[in-house]
């Protein structure tokens, strides 16, 4: 009995995935549970696991290909089992299939015909062997309605629901492959006008994470009326506290950033109006502080979360933030580890940035941009002195946070940062 390997929904929001790397070759023996490939979802690289045993007979996607959820990627079967019918039905193979006569030989130029001439592959002479074993294909009512609207034959589809039930995602996957199988892209490519020399430029395809960042941040900078509050904080006491902690041993070694994370989390716990989400018709104040921390990764950024950061000791925050940052760079975070932040902190101090403004990650209503910790000349009691300072800028969503609200938050933050013993009591 052949097992179809499809692009699986590896995160709740995943609609398509990029096949990063095959870990099995055609002809390899495969046991149930073996890792077949690595797949990049919208945020993380995850493992695609075999759901059946046998021999990996066919790989139908190349490394680097992006495929919608539900699409066939490979076939696992007995060594000598005939898998032609399955492979033929694979969307990638469809354009070369027997459907050709139904499609005009000349690429359709009018956009309307491009969508309306999409037809299901011509029926093969043997009845489709869908898992329902003859008769009608099991499918949800919604899937039947969508299939009928798009002119898809349910008998040609593979259901990914329980017992092979065809559900919405199967219809959507089939519809999107049919569209991409249409001949128009070739025509469009031929029409590209300017001849360019190689090396003039490079077209870098968008990775999943890049797409997500673009979508989220465009969402942010448009409709969110943002204002910024910047303040200088004196770190003299923090420096002393940190020095004393380091003197106690390696396990107490914490960074300035760890202490600032703790201070911001503590201040947030006292200001739920800032530790909030904008929901369109209401503002949700959070009474637990799940602090997101922006981490730069190879091709973007991700914000893993320190859950209940306000109740954790600074040494715990230090350990957790190190671990999360490491796993973020390895793209090993699970979705629970980077969704559900109540507020976020970004720090570019290590790049020598004195101060900057960060873009709010909706539905959060504020974000904190931490600059470089530096010794600077300041006036203390009328005399020039050298002090360790850091500059923090708070971006506020004015729909939820007013100037005075933000300013009061910064006052609390100053009290905590400049009297850091308050953080350990």
């Amino acid at each position: 009995m052949a097992t179809k390997v499809t692009m699986e929904a590896l995160s709740p929001t995943m609609e398509e995935g990029r096949l990063v790397k095959w870990l099995k070759n055609e002809g390899d023996a495969v046991a149930k549970g073996d890792v077949l490939a690595e797949v990049e979802t919208d945020k993380a690289v995850m493992e695609l696991v075999a759901r059946g045993a046998g021999v990996l007979r066919a790989r139908l996607a190349a490394e680097g290909d992006t495929r919608p959820v539900g699409e066939l990627l490979a076939v696992i079967a007995e060594k000598d089992e005939n898998i032609d019918a399955i492979v033929k039905k694979a969307p990638a193979a469809a354009p070369a299939g027997p459907a050709a006569p139904a499609v005009p030989a000349v690429p359709a130029s009018s956009p309307s015909s491009a969508s309306s001439t999409v037809v299901p592959p011509a029926p093969v002479s043997t009845p489709p062997s869908h898992p329902n074993g003859g008769g009608r294909a099991r499918s949800s009512p919604l899937a039947r309605r969508l299939a009928s609207a798009r002119g898809l034959d349910l008998g040609t589809l593979q259901g990914s629901g329980p017992g092979g039930r065809i559900i919405r995602r199967d219809i959507e996957a089939a519809a999107s492959t049919e569209l991409s199988g249409a001949p128009t892209p070739a025509a469009a490519r031929a029409a590209a006008p300017v001849v360019r020399a190689a090396g003039d430029s490079e077209d870098v395809p968008l990775t999943q994470i890049r797409k997500t960042i673009a979508r989220r941040l465009a969402e942010s900078n448009g409709p969110i009326p943002t204002f910024f509050l910047t303040a200088d904080f004196d770190l003299t006491s923090v420096r002393e506290l940190r020095a004393r902690m380091i003197a106690m041993g390696d396990e107490f070694k914490v960074s300035y950033n760890d202490i600032l994370l703790k201070a911001i989390a503590t201040a947030l716990s006292q200001h739920p109006e800032v530790n909030a989400h904008w929901l369109g018709d209401s503002i949700r104040r959070h009474y637990r502080v799940h602090l997101g921390m922006a981490v730069a990764v190879e091709d973007g950024l991700i914000t893993p979360i320190i859950a209940d950061a306000d109740t954790k000791r600074i040494s715990e925050i230090a350990r957790e933030s190190r671990e999360l940052a490491k796993r973020a760079r390895e793209r090993k975070l699970t979705p629970e580890e980077y969704t559900g932040a109540t507020c976020t902190v970004s720090n570019l101090g290590m790049f020598g940035i004195d101060e900057f403004t960060a873009i709010i990650n909706p539905p959060e209503v504020a974000i904190f941009a931490v600059g470089a910790v530096a010794d600077v000349p300041v006036v203390v009691d009328g005399a020039l002195a050298v002090r360790t300072r850091v500059r923090i800028t708070m971006s506020c969503d004015h729909r939820a946070v007013d100037g005075a609200t933000g300013a009061r938050f910064m006052q609390t933050l100053r009290r905590l940062i400049e009297n850091p013993l308050m953080l350990v009591f």
């Binding site: 929904a9 995160s11 709740p12 929001t13 949800s140 009512p141 919604l142 899937a143 039947r144 309605r145 990914s160 629901g161 329980p162 559900i167 919405r168 995602r169 929901l279 369109g280 018709d281 979705p335 629970e336 969704t339 559900g340």
Partner: protein, 326 residues
């Protein structure tokens, strides 16, 4: 807005309606001198006197019948059951007198009465005192059934229930009396028969009511951490059920989970599922699932009671199943 307990929101509604209409009176066990077994009627005896805040003996069938009679001659009684678990004895008056009088008298006698009290389980009250009666009551033509889960809804709905010209069963909860929520200062009412979208989402619809609306909200919070956006619908009124609001949501999300406190068989959730299959057949991408009490008399042991009750984690599991994530 003032933060008020569910208990005090009910107290405000009773006081305001008794001030507004001198035909309204409260009757039940311990409602007067003792100020209410759960202090819902606190201060009412002092303000309105013994004619309008009436302590009764432990005679549920008797005082329910006195209430129906009073309603027939033009008063607007509010009958408090110390809990709906004790009201079982009074159901003859509720079902055979209150519910049917309008029809059987050819429209001559309407019964403007409210029967109210805590419904369902509290903590470790065991099999006989942990029962959710809403599906029994909602089964009867002639009754309206209301089950608010927040202070705001409790006040607005009780005022509407008292003004209604027909019998309204008003289901509260011992575990609800202490919960707090925003209640506006001024006068407001909430219509019967209208559900409320308590939280918007587009991945799945969670339908619930009463105490369980808070469980549904907790589940939605947990789901949000996984990026799942649940729409939460509070039925508020269980007879008549607002099937239009349910259908509009399920047409958007294509999947639904119903959370209720009572047992599975013939429960409110069964009725909701019936509306969904009738109104949204072509929109469903998965069977509708239900979360409910286990099909046993409520156990006394703490661990077994917890296992028998519906909760947020069971709701999350059902949602993941209708999303094909399990």
């Amino acid at each position: 807005m003032a933060i008020v307990t569910y208990r005090d929101a009910l107290n405000q509604a009773l006081r305001e309606e008794m001030q507004r209409d001198d035909r309204v009176f409260l009757m039940g066990e311990e409602v007067g001198v003792y100020q209410g077994a759960y202090k819902v009627s606190k201060g009412l005896l002092q303000e309105f006197g013994e004619m309008r805040v009436v302590d009764t003996p432990i005679t549920e069938l008797g005082f329910a019948g006195v209430g129906v009679g009073a309603a027939m001659v033009g008063l607007r009684p509010v009958i408090e059951f110390m809990t709906w678990n004790f009201a079982l004895l009074a159901l003859d008056q509720v079902v055979n007198s209150a519910a049917k009088m309008l029809s059987m008298s050819g429209g001559q006698f309407n019964i403007p009465i409210v029967f109210r009290g805590p419904n369902g389980a509290a903590l470790q009250l065991s099999a006989q005192h942990s029962q959710a009666w809403e599906s029994w009551l909602a089964h009867i033509p002639g009754l309206k059934v209301v089950a608010p889960g927040t202070p705001y809804d409790a006040k607005g709905l009780l005022k509407t229930a008292i003004r209604d010209d027909n019998p309204v069963m008003f289901l509260e909860g011992e575990m609800l009396y202490n919960i707090k929520g925003e209640v506006p200062e001024g006068e407001y009412t909430i219509p019967l028969g209208k559900a409320q979208v308590k939280r918007e989402g587009d991945h799945v619809t969670i339908i619930s009511y009463g105490k369980m609306i808070n469980v549904a909200q907790q589940a939605a919070d947990l789901l949000a951490k996984d990026g799942i956006r649940a729409e939460v619908i509070d039925l508020l009124t269980l007879r008549p059920i607002d099937s239009e609001t349910i259908a509009a949501s399920v047409r958007k999300t294509n999947r639904a989970v119903v959370v209720e406190e009572g047992w599975e068989i013939c429960g409110i959730g069964a009725q909701v599922v019936d509306y969904v299959q009738r109104d949204c057949f072509d929109d469903l991408d998965a069977p509708v699932l239900r979360v409910h009490q286990a099909d046993v008399p409520m156990p006394y042991a703490k661990n077994l009671e917890r296992a028998a009750k519906p909760d947020a984690l069971k709701t999350v599991a059902a949602v993941r199943q209708v999303l094909y994530l399990e």
